[in-house]
């Protein structure tokens, strides 16, 4: 997913001279062609995130569209004040590409786990947050980021995730995508968790339960209309995300539901990472299972909610 995303930045930059790229201290050879072909628009600025964001803001205030890339933890936490003031307060076109959102860097431990990135980005006025489910969706969304107003945070998954999205509907920033309809329950996911909820929908169908799937690639601004329309049709709603249950997709949906008067009562549950620092290594998959972010767990949660 990262390679696809950065290749698209390169391809977009080839035809749009407003596009600049700034990396911190990325892997050797990253965007080699960009550097060679457009050296005056390619910067590798070292482990200096505060400066990188301010510098990007300065370029963007001069009319440039700046894509910045480093690991999701460092691009959100280390320079948070530069993000909220230099980018969001000035409302400039800087695109933050965060590698390894969620539990991707499981073997590297908690310093490298971006499990609160969505929460802190959600708190920033003017920020748009996008978490695609696979590389095909990445290909559809990247061209739209060029002229989108204000700063954008693009949360990347690990890569080589199965292709689960389709191009049946054009990608639109700020729009949720209904993937399946269902009468009993609704599963709402973002990022690569779409594959989990699609599998859960199959498992529930085998049990005679009709569960809908709503993919929310844009977490902010959240598509309240589509989400509430989906919630209104069912009894039980579950959100699934590779993120802390505090402040992410689940919180956004909970806020919408809590402030809406439905005709019938709703059962609601967030599936995500509890309010802890993960204390195990292993892999992204093993940590996801450890925190019950799996199709089996989602099925179990929905069965309980429908029983309630």
């Amino acid at each position: 997913m990262r390679k696809t995303c950065l290749d698209m930045v390169y391809n977009l930059a080839k035809t749009d001279k407003r596009i600049f790229f700034i990396g911190s201290d990325l892997g050797f050879g990253t965007l080699k062609a960009f550097k060679e072909e457009m050296p005056d628009r390619f910067f590798m600025e070292g482990v200096s995130e505060a400066n990188v964001i301010g510098m990007a803001a300065g370029l963007a205030l001069e009319g440039k569209i700046v894509y910045v890339n480093t690991i999701a933890t460092f691009i959100t936490r280390r320079c948070f004040e530069q993000i909220i003031l230099d980018l969001c307060l000035h409302n400039v076109k800087v695109r933050l590409i965060g590698n390894g959102g969620g539990l991707v860097y499981a073997p590297l431990g908690p310093t490298h786990l971006a499990i609160e990135d969505i929460a802190i980005m959600r708190a920033c006025p003017n920020m748009t947050i996008i978490a695609p489910a696979d590389v095909d969706e990445m290909r559809r969304l990247m061209p739209l980021t060029v002229d989108h107003d204000g700063p954008v945070y693009i949360r990347l998954g690990k890569g080589f995730d199965p292709i689960v999205t389709t191009d049946n509907v054009p990608f639109e920033i700020g729009k949720a995508i209904p993937m399946r309809s269902g009468d009993d329950a609704l599963m709402v996911s973002t990022g690569i968790c779409l594959k989990i909820v699609l599998k859960a929908a199959d498992q529930l169908q085998a049990r005679g339960i009709s569960a809908g799937v709503l993919h929310v690639p844009t977490i902010k601004p959240v598509d309240a209309e589509t989400i509430l329309d989906g919630v209104a049709r069912v009894r039980a709603v579950v959100t699934v995300e590779e993120h802390s249950i505090i402040g992410g997709l689940g919180s956004a949906i909970a806020e919408l539901i809590a402030e809406t008067n439905f005709d019938s009562a709703k059962q609601f549950k967030r599936v995500g990472i509890p309010d802890v620092f993960p204390d195990k290594y292993g892999s992204q998959d093993s940590l996801m299972r450890h925190y019950d972010i799996s199709s089996e767990s989602v099925v179990s949660v929905i069965l309980k909610l429908l029983d309630a």
């Binding site: 910067f43 200096s48 505060a50 400066n51 510098m55 300065g58 001069e62």
Partner: protein, 285 residues
């Protein structure tokens, strides 16, 4: 090693230059703003006022009726709390009507306690949180190089602000990109909010630090308009190095009884008596 040919003497080394009528008039307007709002970072504004005055009077190219003119020189007051001085000068230059000065920090005004981009004509970046101006200035200067524009970028940072690591990240970046079109002016009054800079977090040897980070460095009396003009007119000294001018200043300069008095770093609920004291002090200076 390149150094500006500025001679530091006992007279000009500590910001002890006398104030001419323009410097006094600008300070008087600051006091009148204070009278209207009863609050503000007075000491910080009086410290930076000649730096701003010289930039806007003698050095920078700009069009106050077209503040986004693409070829204008850019100035970022990174120590945003010194904004009283900036506002007085921007109004003096016609960026906005003088009447705005009397609405400082008021609900219907455009001038807040820190400068805001987009609200105030002539303000290039929102500052207030320290350590943000120089990285943004690096972006401005890089853009000039890319677009082959001749505009220059000036960033004024405080000495307390120099504690922030982001300045030094940006300094490395500016030197790497050989931003000779970038000039950092350090308002070095040796005081920050709590105490002297020596006591809180000593910056010395400050000249050596900037030089070590790849800048051409000059030292001037930051209240001596002629010395500031000379120093700024000599920049860029080197075609491949950014510039730093260490401006030796006095916090509260121009009213003896508040000079170097940390109670006047920021003042709220300023009384009528204090306004009279400030005006009289300025008159007698």
């Amino acid at each position: 090693m390149t150094t500006l040919p500025i001679t530091i003497t006992a007279e000009n080394s500590l910001g002890c230059a006398a104030l001419d009528p323009r410097s006094k008039e600008l300070r008087k307007t600051v006091i009148r703003m204070l009278e209207a709002s009863r609050r503000g970072h007075v000491g910080s504004a009086f410290s930076v006022i000649e730096i701003l005055r010289v930039l806007y009077d003698d050095i920078m190219l700009y069009d106050s009726q077209n503040p986004r003119w693409v070829k204008r020189d850019r100035c970022i007051l990174s120590k945003g709390h010194g904004c009283l001085a900036l506002y007085v000068i921007l109004a003096d230059k016609g960026f906005f009507p003088e009447s705005e000065l009397w609405k400082f920090c008021k609900p219907d005004g455009i001038l807040g306690g820190h400068p805001e981009y987009g609200k105030i004509p002539g303000v290039e970046a929102s500052t207030g949180s320290l350590g943000h101006g120089l990285p943004i200035g690096v972006g401005f200067a890089l853009n000039a190089k890319y677009e082959q524009l001749d505009y220059r970028t000036f960033v004024i940072i405080g000495d307390g602000e120099s504690d922030e690591g982001s300045n030094w990240e940006a300094a490395m970046s500016a030197a790497k990109h050989k931003l000779d079109n970038l000039t950092v002016l350090v308002d070095y009054n040796k005081h920050q909010s709590y105490d002297s800079t020596y006591a809180v977090l000593d910056l010395e040897p400050l000249v050596d630090k900037w030089r070590a980070f790849g800048f051409v460095v000059a030292e001037v009396d930051g209240h001596d308009a002629r010395a500031l003009q000379d120093a700024l007119r000599r920049t860029p000294v080197s075609v491949d190095k950014p510039n730093a001018i260490i401006c030796h200043t006095v916090k509260g300069k121009g009213v003896e009884c508040i000079e170097n008095d940390l109670n006047w770093h920021h003042k709220s609920k300023v009384s009528d008596n204090e306004i009279v004291t400030l005006l009289n002090g300025l008159e007698m200076y």
